[in-house]
Amino acid sequence: MTHTNLTSRTTRRLGERRALRCVIAASLVAIMACSVSIGAARAAMPVIRDVQRKVVKIYGAGGLRQMEAYQSGILVSAEGHVVTALSYVLDTDDVAAVLDDGRKFSVEFVGSDPVLELAVLKLNLGDEQVSWFDLKEAAAAAPGEPVLAVSNLYGIAAGDEPASILQGVVTAIAPLEARRGAFQANYRGDVYVVDAHANNPGAAGGALVDWRGRLLGVLGKELKSRVTGAWLNYALPVETWAGSVEAIIAGRNATGSPGLALAPEEPLTLADLGVVLVPNLLARTPAYLDAVRPGSPAASAGLRPDDLIVFVAGEPTASCSEVIETLGRIDRRDELRMAVLREGELVDVVLAAEIDEEPAGPPSSAGEVDEPAADESDSTEPAAGESNREGA
């Protein structure tokens, strides 16, 4: 069900409308915005302070060269739910969040949306109270509207220091066409493009707000334009992710939902499908296909290398581990529905999980094998072999 929701939402492609309409109007508003007087800035100070209370500093994995071990997050519930970027920073059990007043909380990973590359965390608040953005009161901005980007960019704020504020205007609402290194960004929908240097290291997960302190969007990860190579400054509008986040919080999308908890008699493996995932180095390595064995069920279903597995049997899968785990709960004799993200589009596939007849394994009539031990060797060894070949 959630699967369908997400698909339709994404395929609706908010970006169908051309981004840069109302050019004149935009520039007009921009001129007015630039002239926001000193008085207006003073009036904004309580608003800024209020927003800073709702933006958290997140510390986790990283720390290597150009991989900062910190990012930002937005509090979206009284229970301490935080929306942030889905990134390597969360690839540790030791994620902590620090509020503007220095209060530090351990963090639970609630769920994630692999298309939007957003994660939902929950602070272990205990009896503590926090300020938060009510997503129902979020706003939308038009090009030319003055905005504030609030984040812990560069990790400047430490301890009880509040997040940094950058100001600018929404310069455009346009589809995100971006890359990170050689990879395409997953999300291709509309984003707010801003003229503030909003998306510096550590800013991902921060808030874009209007001058009344209303949440407009969440600052995305560091990305470069696919066309110009310039660093992008953008935020994902609340309307694009509120539904998904609410679903995750409600538990509908939560990973490891109880519905599939029973272990099947003959669990499905990657090798059964004929796919090899990218090396699973991190706790949350995205589930990209590294290779597809020719003639395999995966190949027949049209899967290709570089596809990102985002749903397995209706379950969102944010990582290689989650794909393997979810497959493990599916009987190999069942038909398998998956969704992959390919060049920004969700593609649904149906795989008939037959045992491949070509390579090493003993010839078998699908689903009729009665020796589990033999099955196991069949399923693991070709996979390992595949993997080694790919690596060589």
Binding site: M32, G159, A198, N200
Partner: protein, 620 residues
């Protein structure tokens, strides 16, 4: 003067979206074109918006007059600065002047290039003071209060980014205060930015040392560095300015021509679950003598709540050494308030060594230092082949312009000793004038002073060249001034009152020249109120004496004697100056030692037996 080699990349720096780049450009073009045509007619902009714009334009026009474009003597690099007094004193960054020698050229928005000389440097705080020469009516910046700066406030930076301005007209960039009381790590122990202002007004290479103004054009900071990392050395919305309050607190020190150090508490702290806890403390530190101990929880420092170890480091960094700062700590549920005399962060020789290294190879603060003094992308690659340092090869300084040469004296430990000499001379001459000492009779050492103690009872003080004696309600004590003076600390509990009086008499009798090294330290707080005053330091017989001069009258406001580095001084605070023995002398003395007051002495009469006229002009 220089080709704006870096102008091209700057044009491409604002990040815009991919599909919209051209549209955006045209959008901006239309906006700009509309502005050029006159917004009032074309767009019907509300009057108050236009009025706000006029205010801003006027503030910028005023503020940029005081903004300085600095070029080193060799024309190799430069930065920015800001004038703070009509006689040409201007603040800039240490890293702008670090390798340029004592002479430089400074351009103002009037298009004139002035000679300027290095005055003093603060390598830890990355501040330097220079003096522009040739006028006594330089335009100056109006000073703001950086402690009142708030996040969200509009600000603008002025300066010479990329050394663009051929006619020295500063570039202005507008933005917002993104954060206050920020901390940016040092390179080693130098270039530490504490309690600084973070702004998204564009701070680019060449802006270094230039002013950050509030929206009304008041000076609130000195722009010095930014966060850059992987995005190249152009602004990405994160610049840092040293607070003007910090810079001005060091101003007196900088005017001393010294290489100025920053302060250390003499204790280290760590953030624990139950607060900020002292985890190490030097037993020789003033903090220890005031009662701070291992395991104590630091609650407040300089009036600021301390919630993390970083916060303490952040507040500590804005003070010069010897500054006295109130501090509150907690032990066993009880709260203690003390006033701590801060010590130096570095040993003087160590600091000189670090600065000399900077002169040859300016450091790059961790990861993200802009090196904003370098002339942009055409600067030599720091990792690549380096131009040989000509000054090093020649083994001597190049010849200085005459105007500079007469204001520059080289001396170890000083950026420019000439300014220290001048300060010493100025204080001494004002003091003589105030004393009404016109080269007449010496006051000598043979004095008899009678008076009463504020807490009750009488006192009588008899002084001589070899020994002195004081009779107080609690008894009689004496001191002998031969050999090692540092052990003559009577009366007990005073920290050496008789010695302090002896050194005072010696200073009056023989002048400062008989003391060992005399140094003008700058402006330091003295006494209980901690009012800053000009301070001279001198050594005699192993004892350091610090003399504080009243700004208004030039009188000696206080003196402190330090028998050694690790003990409290005897503090003698003078007031109620009146005529005595043909001179003007203080009739109210407060004697302080350690945590408290030793005595307040009200003088009834000075009886001074001048050596020239033995029974001279006594006065009852």
């Amino acid at each position: 003067m220089r080709q704006p080699a870096a102008a091209q990349p700057l044009l491409t720096s604002p990040a815009v979206t991919s599909p919209g780049t051209e549209c955006m450009a045209s959008c901006l073009f239309i906006a700009v074109a509309t502005l050029a045509l006159g917004v009032d007619t074309a767009l019907d902009v509300p009057a108050d918006v236009l009025a706000a714009q006029d205010v801003r334009v006027a503030a910028m026009a005023r503020a940029t007059e005081a903004t300085v474009a600095i070029f080193d003597a060799a024309g190799q690099g430069g930065g920015s600065g800001v004038l703070i007094s009509p006689d040409g004193f201007a603040l800039t960054n240490f890293h702008v002047v670090a390798s340029g020698g004592p002479a430089m050229k400074c351009g103002l928005s009037d298009g004139v290039l002035y000679d300027a000389v290095l005055v003093g440097i603060d390598p830890v705080g990355d501040v330097a003071l220079v003096q522009l020469l040739g006028r006594d009516d330089f335009p100056v910046a109006e000073i703001g209060d950086s402690d009142a700066v708030r996040v969200g406030q509009w600000v603008f930076a002025a300066g010479n980014p990329f050394l663009l301005a051929d006619d020295f007209t500063p570039s202005v960039s507008y933005g917002m205060v993104s954060g206050v009381r920020r901390y940016q790590y040092p390179a080693g122990t130098l270039l530490e930015y504490t309690d600084c202002i973070q702004t998204d007004a564009a701070i680019n290479p060449g802006n270094s040392g230039g002013p950050l103004f509030d929206a009304d054009g008041r000076l609130i900071g000195i722009n010095g560095r930014g966060s850059f990392e992987k995005r190249g050395r152009v602004n990405v919305g994160v610049g840092y300015a040293i607070s003007i309050n910090q810079a001005l607190r060091f101003l007196g020190h900088l005017k001393s021509g010294r290489i100025v150090d920053h302060a250390s508490l003499g204790a280290t702290v760590s953030t624990e679950d139950d607060g900020v806890i002292v985890d190490d403390i030097l037993e020789s530190s003033d903090a220890f003598r005031r009662g701070l101990r291992y395991g104590d929880q630091v609650v407040q420092f300089a009036g600021r709540d301390i919630t993390t170890a970083n916060a303490l480091q952040n507040v500590l960094g804005v003070f010069p050494p010897h500054w006295r700062v109130p501090m509150r700590f907690r032990r066993d549920g009880q709260t203690y308030d003390i006033v701590v005399r801060l010590e130096s962060k570095h040993d003087p020789a160590e600091l000189v060594g670090l600065v000399q290294r900077e002169e040859v190879d300016p450091s790059r603060p961790p990861g993200e230092e802009p090196q904003p003094d370098a002339p942009g992308p055409d600067a030599p690659d720091p990792e690549g082949p380096q131009m040989p340092d000509l000054r090093k090869l020649l083994g001597k300084e190049p010849k200085l312009p005459a105007a500079i040469a007469e204001r520059y004296v080289q001396r170890r430990g000083f950026a420019n000793y000439w300014y220290n000499q001048q300060a010493q001379l100025r204080l001494w001459e004002r003091w003589l004038e105030q004393m009404q000492d016109e080269g007449g009779d010496s006051l000598g050492y043979d004095w008899q002073i009678a008076g009463h103690v504020a807490t009750g009872g009488e006192f009588r003080l008899t002084t001589g060249r070899q020994q002195s004696e004081i009779r107080l309600p609690q008894g009689v004590t004496g001191a002998v001034f031969r050999d090692d003076l540092s052990v003559q600390l009577s009366p007990p509990g005073s920290g050496g009152l008789l010695l302090a009086i002896h050194l005072w008499q010696r200073m009056m009798d023989e002048g400062l020249r008989t003391f060992g090294e005399v140094v003008y330290l700058g402006r330091l707080p003295y006494g209980l109120e901690g009012r800053p005053a000009d301070c001279l330091s001198c050594l005699y017989g192993g004892v350091e004496m610090r003399l504080f001069y009243d700004e208004q009258t030039g009188a000696l406001a206080a003196l402190e004697t330090y028998p050694s580095d690790d003990v409290d001084p005897c503090e003698l605070i003078f007031s109620d100056y009146r005529e005595a023995g043909g001179r003007i002398l203080p009739y109210h003395w407060v004697v302080r030692f350690g945590d408290g007051e030793f005595a307040t002495l009200e003088i009834d009469a000075y009886k001074i037996a001048s050596p020239a006229a033995a029974s001279g002009r006594d006065r009852e």
